[in-house]
Subunit: 338 residues, 2 copies
DNA sequence: GCGTGGCGGGAAAGCGCTTTCCAGCGCTGC
DNA sequence: GCAGCGCTGGAAAGCGCTTTCCCGCCACGC
C-alpha cells in the first residue's frame, strides 16, 4: 500500500510534454494547447488515475476550494437545514464544505475561524447566533477581520453587527406578527419561553412579540428564560407550570424549545390547545409530524443557507450586503381560540 | 485589504532565527530548541498574528488534517446524529471535518471520495447505506482502493463488503427481536414498509423481521417498498391503507419512514395504536416528541459516528476491523396489545 | 591533548503545483 | 526582406512549509 501518488510530473513525462503544458491542459488555464498534446495529456492522466493534489494547488494559487460552515449543533434541525442549503450551493460551485461545530461556545467559534484561516478557506458561513457578550464579540470581530484581510469572505446568518454579508431573518417582525395573530385568537395572558438573554436572536423575537402584544392592547407576557434547546424549552415550561401565572398561550422563541415545552405540558396533563395554546418559531421540518401540529413563524431555512453561501461565493463589492428574509406566521392545530 | 499573509519566514526574520528553528518551535518537532530562541519565536509569532498555512504544511508533510464525512442527507436526523459523533471526535483530535452530501446518488459518493483524495484527506467516514447495485459498488470499491493506496483510511457505517473498517449495527438481529416483541403483543397480521429493495440496510432489517415473525410462528408480512425518506413512508402507508390487507401492526424500516407513515395514518383517521400499531428503527432523537411515542429499535447513532471516527483515526493494522453495535427494542406508546 | 558523541542551529533541498518569462515559429504589413 | 506580432511550448522561479544534512560547540573519556 501507500503506492506513491501519481503526480503531474509523471503524467507530463509519460505524455512526453512539459510540466507547464500538462498543467495547462488539466486545469482551465487561459492558454491554449494544441489538440494533439492536449489529447495525449488527458489520456495519460486518465490512464494513470491522476488526481491533482489540492494542497499543492492551493499553495501555488494561494487560494483553496474550501468553504467553512460554522454551526452550534448539527443535530439541531435549524442548523442542519441551513447546512443543507450551504452545501448544495458550495458543491454546485465545485467547492468543498468544512463543517465546524461550536457546541454553543463562543470561543470555539473564534478557534474554528482561525483554523479555517489556516486552511485558507475562501469563504465562511457563520450560522451561530450572535451574543451580546462584548468580549466574545470583539474577539470574533478581530478574527473575522483577520480572515477577510487575507482575502476570505464571511457571511453570517441572523443579524450581526460585524460588518459582514448577512442573511437576516425577520425575527422582530415575525415575533410581532405572531403576537398579533395570537391576540386575535382572543388570548389575553401570554408567556414567552425565551432563550438565554444574551442571544440576539432570542431577544429580537421576544422584543417583536412584546411589541405585537402592545399593538393589540394586551398585557406584557410572563418571560421565562431557558437554554436554547429542546431541554431548555422543557425546563422552562415546567417552570411556567409551577408558577402561579394563569396564561392561556405560550410562545417559545424556537421550534425546538417549543417541542420540549409541548413534552412538558403533555407530561403534566395540560392539553394543547384546549388548556394551553403554544407556538414556536422557525418552522423546522420535524414540525410536520408533531401532534398537535405546531403553530410557528416560517423561515425558509434551507434557502437561507443557500443565500448565505451565494453571498459569500460571488465576490461582490467591498460593501457588506444584507439580505432580509421574512418570516410568515403559520397557525396550525397547537393554537386555538380562547 | 488582502494584506499579505504572515509567513513563517517573516516570523523567523523578525525573531532573528532561521526558518528551521522557527518551524521547530511552532510545531511539535522532535528537536529541541533553546528556551531563549523558543520564547523569542513564540512571542513574535503571537505578535504578528502568525497562522501556519495548512496547505503548505499538508504539502510538505504529505498529509493533511482533513477528515471526510459522506452522508446522504444532512437534514436526516439519522445522519446528523452520526455527523455529530464524527465531528466531535475529529475536532478533539485537532482535525477538520469535510462534509459531503450525496443526495442518495451513488455516483456522487464516488465523486466525493475522489475530491477527498485530491485533498489528501487522511481519513473518510462513509455513512451512506450500501446498495446491491454491482456497478456502483465496484466503482466505489475502486475509488476506496485508490484512496487507501494513498495512505488514507476509510470506515463505513452500516455493513459493507468493501474491506474497510466498519461499524455494523445489528440490523438483522434488531429486526428479528422487534418482530418477536411485537408478536408477543398478540399481533398476527403484519406489514413492513421497506426501503428501496437495493438498499442493504433495508433488506437486512426486513429479513430479520421476517425471521422474527417466523420464530413466533406468525405469517409473513405484507411488504411495501417506498423511498427511504419521510415521504416514502407516507406514500407506502397510503398504499397499505388502500390495499385490502387487514394488518394490525406495521414496521417501517426507519424511524423517518415511520414518522411519514404515522402522518398518513393520522390523516386517514386510523388511530395509533388502537387501530394500528407501528414501530420504526433507529431511535432518532425527534422520536421523543412524537405522539404517540414511537416504538423502535434503538441504535446509539452519535456513538456510532464516534466509533467510526475512532476506527479511522487510530492507525490500526492493515486488517479491516468490524465493530458491531447492538440494537435494543424499545416499546413505546405506538404499539399496543392486539 | 585529542578523538567521540551529543546537541542546538542553520542552509538548503524538496513537496506538487501554477505562472511568468523566454524561445521559436509562421504571419502580416511596410 | 525584415521588424513586429500572435501563438504555442518549455524552463524555471516560486508558493510556505518540513526535514535532512551538515557544522560548530561543548563535555567526556582515555
Amino acid at each position: 500500500m501507500s503506492a506513491r501518488q501519481v503526480t503531474l510530473a509523471e503524467v507530463a513525462k509519460q505524455a512526453g510534454v512539459s510540466l507547464a503544458t500538462a498543467s495547462r491542459v488539466l486545469n482551465g488555464s487561459t492558454r491554449q494547447v494544441s489538440e494533439e498534446l492536449s489529447d495525449r495529456v488527458l489520456r495519460t492522466a486518465e490512464q494513470l488515475g491522476y488526481v491533482p493534489n489540492a494542497s499543492a494547488q492551493a499553495l501555488a494559487r494561494n487560494s483553496s476550494s474550501l468553504v467553512g460552515l460554522v454551526v452550534h449543533d448539527i443535530t439541531d434541525p435549524y442548523f442542519s437545514c441551513i447546512a443543507a442549503g450551504v452545501t448544495r450551493v458550495a458543491e454546485e460551485a465545485g467547492l468543498v464544505v468544512v463543517l465546524g461545530t461550536t457546541g454553543r461556545r463562543p470561543e470555539r467559534e473564534v478557534e474554528l475561524l482561525s483554523t479555517l484561516r489556516a486552511h485558507r478557506a475562501r469563504a465562511v458561513v457563520l450560522a451561530g447566533s450572535r451574543t451580546t457578550d462584548r468580549v466574545a464579540q470583539s474577539r470574533l470581530a478581530a478574527e473575522i477581520d483577520a480572515f477577510t484581510e487575507q482575502g476570505g469572505r464571511v457571511a453570517c446568518v441572523s443579524q450581526a453587527k460585524l460588518g459582514t454579508d448577512t442573511v437576516v431573518p425577520g425575527n422582530r417582525a415575525g415575533g410581532r406578527a405572531l403576537a398579533r395573530s395570537l391576540a386575535e385568537l382572543g388570548h389575553k395572558k401570554f408567556a414567552v419561553l425565551g432563550g438565554p438573554s444574551e442571544l440576539v436572536v432570542a431577544r429580537d423575537r421576544l422584543a417583536g412579540f412584546k411589541a405585537g402584544l402592545a399593538d393589540a392592547g394586551v398585557a406584557p407576557p410572563v418571560v421565562i428564560n431557558g437554554a436554547f434547546t429542546r431541554d431548555g424549552g422543557y425546563e422552562a415550561a415546567l417552570q411556567l407550570l409551577s408558577s402561579k401565572s394563569r396564561v392561556t398561550c405560550v410562545f417559545a422563541v424556537t421550534d425546538v424549545m417549543a417541542m420540549g415545552a409541548m413534552a412538558a405540558l403533555r407530561e403534566r396533563g395540560v392539553r394543547v390547545p384546549e388548556d394551553m395554546s403554544i407556538a414556536g418559531f422557525d418552522d423546522i421540518p420535524t414540525l410536520r409530524d408533531t401532534v398537535p401540529a405546531l403553530s410557528t413563524v416560517r423561515l425558509p431555512l434551507e434557502q437561507m443557507g443557500e443565500i448565505a453561501a451565494g453571498l459569500v461565493l460571488d465576490a461582490g463589492g467591498d460593501e457588506a450586503r444584507t439580505v432580509r428574509v421574512a418570516g410568515e406566521v403559520v397557525l396550525r392545530a397547537s393554537t386555538a381560540h380562547n
